[in-house]
Assembly symmetry: C2
Homo-oligomer: 199 residues x 2
DNA sequence: CCTACCGATCGGTAGG
DNA sequence: CCTACCGATCGGTAGG
């Protein structure tokens, strides 16, 4: 019974967080009220605080859980003993698959993390810069081994990559015929080979 | 005197809007209060309403003024009698130059437009889809003439392009050595030719 | 999970 | 551009 209560309580907390993600995605964190969220769940605003400590705690869960998934995905790719363009491709596919598993949380992760308060915002940004740098390392590796052009601007390349990746939740249609892995492949191909014929 | 009053009044309104853009960029529109804005200008919150009608009117100015600049830039490029990859490159350079002229307003345009109310939000989104479609036409033209691969996903290509373009205000350092036109050239080159050597 | 409620803050107006 | 102020709404707590 104690166990069941705990399980139910956890599960209800998850429900609250998932509904909150939908709300934050549509209206933005700052414009979303706890009364909005309560209404979506069919309860009173005050009742939310049985499950969560504060509005920001929800945002923290969403942002750091996604960050963990991204990190795990990249660590798998880094272990692979393949060339830089293959590694970059797999990193891109992994990132897109993590996003596709929860497009709503991904959009919140991207657009609302700035509303984290200290020290969470700082921690979050450190995780992000670390992640970006690890992709930059893959690109630099590719330049060293001669797979990629020496003339490319590595900062520009990695920023372009992340811009493309991170906006995907805003336009990707989960009901379209294209699966996340294929989307990742195409995106990687476009970035590596370009639009031009005979690339 | 009447003329001078009007000029001063216009200029003060511009100051209010520019300060508001800075505030909205940092805190987001919803989390920015009129009292914050007033403090930045050294006046009382109520005094703002001598210059603007409402908080949202400021957002409308920022979003639609930027949209106009983007449209004008693209219209110039469309007149050019050049190939698709050259036209795409010039469109990218133009877009980046418009953003670079006012990075603050560009960031607000990108991240805060969703807080526009009806019917402004709808009008804004229509302008945006039109702009995107005109870039898509350039890409389709390039596929037809054989400049670009037939295998590319045009929607993905144009979305990747806009993701890259629109995130530029978030990481571009206006005090860096790289000028906007060169940044545009490099971005266009990366997209058209890719990262791979012998592209 | 609810009722009842709190202090703080919001965008905006009246009147000068 | 200011003082004085309004009704609405905010995140959150007490106590059950």
């Amino acid at each position: 019974m104690g166990t069941l209560d705990t399980l139910n309580s956890l599960s209800r907390k998850e429900q609250v967080i998932r509904k909150a993600a939908e709300l934050f995605r549509i209206k933005g964190y700052a414009a979303s009220s706890m009364r909005d969220l309560a209404q979506m769940l069919g309860i009173e605003a005050a009742s939310l605080y049985s499950h969560i400590r504060s509005k920001e705690e929800i945002l923290q869960s969403l942002c750091f859980d996604m960050a963990t998934e991204f990190r795990k995905s990249l660590e798998e790719v880094e272990k692979q003993n393949v060339g830089a363009s293959e590694k970059l491709k797999n990193g891109i596919i992994g990132h897109i698959q993590v996003m596709a598993k929860d497009l709503t949380a991904s959009a919140v992760f991207m657009n609302e993390h700035r509303h984290l308060s200290a020290p969470f915002l700082r921690d979050f940004l450190l995780l992000r810069i670390n992640y970006i740098n690890r992709f930059k390392n893959i690109i630099e590796e590719g330049v060293k081994t001669g797979e990629f052009k020496e003339s490319i601007d590595k900062k520009l390349a990695v920023m372009t990559l992340f811009s493309s990746l991170n906006w995907m939740p805003q336009w990707y249609d989960p009901y379209s015929h294209i699966v996340p892995a294929d989307l990742g492949k195409q995106l990687a191909d476009m970035l590596v080979n370009g639009l031009k014929k005979e690339g």
